[in-house]
Amino acid sequence: MRSDMIFTLAAMAALLAAGLYGYLGDEPFFLTLAAKAAIFALAGAGLNIALGYGGLVSLGHAAFFGIGGYAAGILASHARNYEPLMSWPVELAGTTSAPLIWIVAMLAAGLFSLPMGLLSLRTGGVYFIMITLAFAQMLYYFAVSWPAYGGEDGLSFYVRNELGGLSTMDPWSWFLICYAILAVALVFIAVLTRSRFGLALTMARENPLRLGNIGVAPRRVLLTAFVISAIVTGLAGALYADLNRFVSPSMLSWHMSGEIMVFVILGGVGRLGGPVAGACVFILLEQVLGGFTEYWQFLLGVALIVIVLMGSGGLAGLFERTGVRKAAAHG
């Protein structure tokens, strides 16, 4: 637990340092990358609640990421075009207010995750993976074939949404907003894992039969975790849409689900700071290796294999083991 906390703080400090470097060195591209890392980390932190703490291998989290993205995109585009979202039975206008958009994104992702979780939790193992994947793909094809919001071409909006008096188009402010939201989410997850619910979730993952035996239905606990997980990833989707001022069906594709899972596994499954480290390293590799070769994802694959083979826990696990070895050497 303590090593997890140190690792989390270290990963967050590194991300902040990257942002500061971009700000002081006046490199807006670098700042945008740092903001992207923070958003990906948030998406991974969401998945980590289901995957790491609940043991639910979801290959459908792109659904929540994309729902969050489309919630932001649709609300903003209506507001900018002065078209109401709907005029019957009540008139509902779009909005460019970021907090409102975030809330809608989280609600939408949470609502969608409810039937998805209910159905997929009836199964386990590889079937759970397939059903979550199927749900996400269903949405993906829906988005591709639905012409109202750009279909396959996606939907762009020209200005980021508004948050109080902050200038969200300024890369430094935008990075800080994303970073602050990530920090709040991590604190929330840390609190969650130390609560009564967190304890029950650990038991649901490790021994559901026993949890039922002490009077708690494991499926209710897992479903709750799945919904919370979707809400966090949905929020990340809304931020991602704002970052790019663009949403497209690719946010919903299973490729995206896989990428979010890579952040978690690379950084450390079930480790608070795992997704932060995973997303940062992913983007770093993408930039550095991508500079050498177009085939950087091949090298990413190699890196992933090495890290997984070196033992569970990804980068966070590596950190724990070196920490233990050092403590042993000193003691």
């Binding site: 609190v191 609560s195 009564r196 029950a200 650990t202 038991m203 039922g212 035996n213 002490i214 708690v216």
Partner: protein
């Protein structure tokens, strides 16, 4: 006469051609230790699974505190005051003994759907859990993850979890298996202490323990109860002797 805490009538369950439980009638009265003995494969563990709700019966009824529970899920029966220890320890490897007991205590203390308050701050909960762990002799090992506990210690923890549920009916499936002499003696003393507080169904192979502890004994052979009575009656029962206690006719 006071109504028994737990009653089964005609409880049956087959697996293919095998009748693991075949019309079992058992009563567990308040304050008694009721031992269930019988050779391996007699259907004792199946009976516990049926009563606790892990598997569904083919026919027959189960009443807990006078209410039919035969179709209720395991969680509901646990909520009504039934606790069970597993024959093979069923624990979460990364959690400590203290965490297991705390989680079990939550059943009667507002449940687990609380997301913000750190559980470590709940000192009342922790004190109660430590009290229970002390009772089974596990207090000094309370903060070690289960993965680091010995087999016997896990058995003790099983009992502690069952006690934390504050049950009216306690089902113990071979609680002493693999516990060692000292552990068994401590558990026997503990069961003796608990006798007045709840009804206990005890499945146990060690006859000495059974005859010393049990108020009543039921003997199960081939899925059926062949005799029920106190220690003296069971010892002298001819059917039991031929079927189980090994005195060949």
């Amino acid at each position: 006469m006071v109504e028994p805490l737990l009653t089964t009538r005609g409880l049956s369950r087959g697996f293919g051609a095998l009748k693991a439980c075949d019309g079992v009638d058992i009563d567990i009265r308040a304050g008694e230790i009721h031992a269930l003995i019988g050779p391996n494969g007699a259907g004792k563990s199946t009976f516990v699974k049926l009563v606790s709700g892990e598997i569904a019966p083919d026919s027959g009824s189960i009443h807990l505190l006078g209410k039919p529970v035969g179709t209720l899920p395991m969680t509901a029966r646990a909520g009504m005051g039934m606790a069970r220890s597993f024959q093979v320890s069923a624990l979460a490897p990364s959690m400590t003994g203290l965490e297991h007991v705390v989680l079990a205590l939550l059943q009667h203390r507002g449940g687990v759907f609380h997301f913000f308050r750190p559980i470590a701050r709940d000192t009342g909960l922790k004190a109660r859990a430590e009290e229970i762990l002390a009772r089974v002799g596990m207090l000094d090992r309370a903060t070690i993850p289960v993965a680091g506990l010995s087999h016997g210690e896990r058995r003790q923890l099983e009992i502690a979890i069952a006690l934390a549920l504050e049950p009216r009916v306690l089902l113990l499936d071979e609680p002493m298996a693999g516990m060692g002499a000292e552990g068994s003696a401590r558990l026997a003393a503990l069961l003796n202490e608990l006798r007045g507080d709840m009804g206990i169904l005890l499945i146990e192979h060690d006859m000495e323990t059974v005859f010393a502890l049990a108020d009543r004994i039921s003997v199960m052979v081939g899925g059926q109860i062949v005799a029920t009575g106190n220690a003296g009656e069971i010892r002298s029962n001819a059917t039991v002797q031929s079927a189980y206690l090994g005195d060949a006719p």
